[in-house]
Amino acid sequence: MFSTDQLDLRRMLCPLPVIRTQDHIKGMSPGDTLTIVCTDPGVLTDIPTWCRINGHEVTSTEEADYEIKITIQVGAE
């Protein structure tokens, strides 16, 4: 059974959202999903880049009212 986690990263500025995402995903397993909620538009570039580097996949990105919600599927290391 895959887990689905959420992280509230609002008000954090990059690279902190990336660091918090990285640290949280260390405790997750391949196939799990993590949804992060952010306010720094820098995550629109940085999170997908970080995911590509580390073998994870961004499965959805939503933007509304200064908030950005990104869902990541954890890949195999």
Binding site: C14, P15, I19, D46, W50, R52, I53
Partner: protein, 357 residues
């Protein structure tokens, strides 16, 4: 001399490269990767890194994509990047630098020692097990930290000693363990020195790198005179040399004016900063014009009197469209309670230059 064949027989050596996001660390990592060494990147977030923050706060609607250069470098190199939050531990480097400050509040030499030491500790962790550390240092590149006499200090005081390899200037330095053991070929390392960037640019071209970052003022806000001035003001205003992450982020946002020793006002300069400041409404007293379009202002200080609030409101309303009006209605929000007040915007000639931090 170690041959490539001999190197190929020893493929398991691993190096961790300090990646700032600039050209030198990109090249240093690439030079070692070219020799068949497994390289992963490490990047430390001190809170003062120039990467991204102000761009993220300001001009949020601009089309130009914002990127973290350390991540970009890692992607160009095809390596993993480990990003480490060192905000708390880094305070001691900023507040008590053993080797002192540079031109402003930049503790560059202590910073480099700190980062190499952290990389060393990380590289020796059981799950990592790296053999040596790479930096993009070049002798003579930086007046405070990258000098011939500071190179051995960094190696010694970080604890990395001869496991610290500077591929871009290695030929100007004594042999290190990776060279002696044949993990890398010293002949294929470089002898760059001085502030001339042409050798690095030529090497970048050779490797096919084009869109690399070259920040004019380095990668740290502490090398910036204006930022260092604001940090000093923060310490003076509070009577103590300390900070937290919100303090150092807010120093990058808005106009800062200190009309009285015990408080300052932070006035947003545009919509992105307005939105960012609004996130601090639980911590600060907020002031915003309601009769005219104007910026949000935050008051940072304790024991604020009614006169202090009025003065702050007059300053903040001076930066809105009501600046020339006889009076402006402002909303002051404190501890979740909002009250409206009529104030006269302070004329610019009544704002002394030394109020601007």
């Amino acid at each position: 001399m170690t041959t490539l064949q001999e190197l190929a027989q020893n493929p398991k050596k691993k190096a961790v490269a300090l990646i700032s996001g600039g050209l030198d660390s990109l090249l240093a990592a690439k030079v070692v990767m070219e020799q068949g060494v497994h390289v992963e990147g490490i990047n430390f977030f001190t809170g003062f890194c120039v990467e991204g923050h102000t761009h993220a706060i300001r001009n949020m609607k601009k089309e130009k994509p914002k990127r973290n250069n350390a991540l970009w470098v890692a992607e160009q190199l095809g390596i993993k990047l480990h990003m480490i939050d060192v905000i708390e531990e880094y305070k001691d480097v900023v507040l008590n630098p053993k080797h002192g400050y540079g031109q402003h509040l930049n503790p560059c030499l202590d910073c480099k020692i700190f980062m190499v030491n952290k990389a060393l500790a990380w590289s020796w962790m059981e799950e990592n097990q790296f053999d040596f550390i790479i930096t993009g240092e070049v002798i003579g590149q930086r007046p405070k930290s990258q000098r011939r006499e500071t190179m051995p200090v960094i190696a010694r005081e970080s604890g990395a000693d001869n496991r610290l390899l500077r591929p871009l200037c290695a030929k100007n330095l004594p042999e290190t363990l990776p060279e002696r053991e044949g993990w890398v070929d010293r002949d294929k390392l470089y002898d760059f020195h001085g502030r001339n960037r042409k050798p690095q640019m030529a090497l970048a071209e050779e490797f096919g790198f084009e869109d690399y970052a070259q920040p004019a003022g380095g990668c740290c806000f502490l090398t910036d005179a204006s930022y260092s001035g604001k940090l000093t003001d923060l310490w003076n205003g509070r009577g103590t040399r300390d900070y937290d992450i919100d303090d150092i982020m807010l120093l990058k946002v808005g106009r800062h004016l200190r009309p009285r020793p015990h408080f300052k006002v932070i006035v947003a300069r545009e919509e992105g900063e307005n939105h960012y400041l609004r996130g601090y409404q639980q911590q600060f007293t907020m002031v915003e014009a309601v009769s005219h379009i104007g910026p949000l202002g935050a008051i940072d200080g304790a024991s604020l009197s009614d006169d202090d609030l009025k003065l702050a409101a007059r300053i903040i309303s001076r930066y809105g469209q009501g600046r020339d009006a006889e009076s402006v209605i402002v909303r002051i929000t404190r501890n979740g309670v909002s009250t409206d007040h009529e104030v006269a915007p302070l004329p610019s000639d009544q704002i002394p230059a030394d109020w601007h931090v």
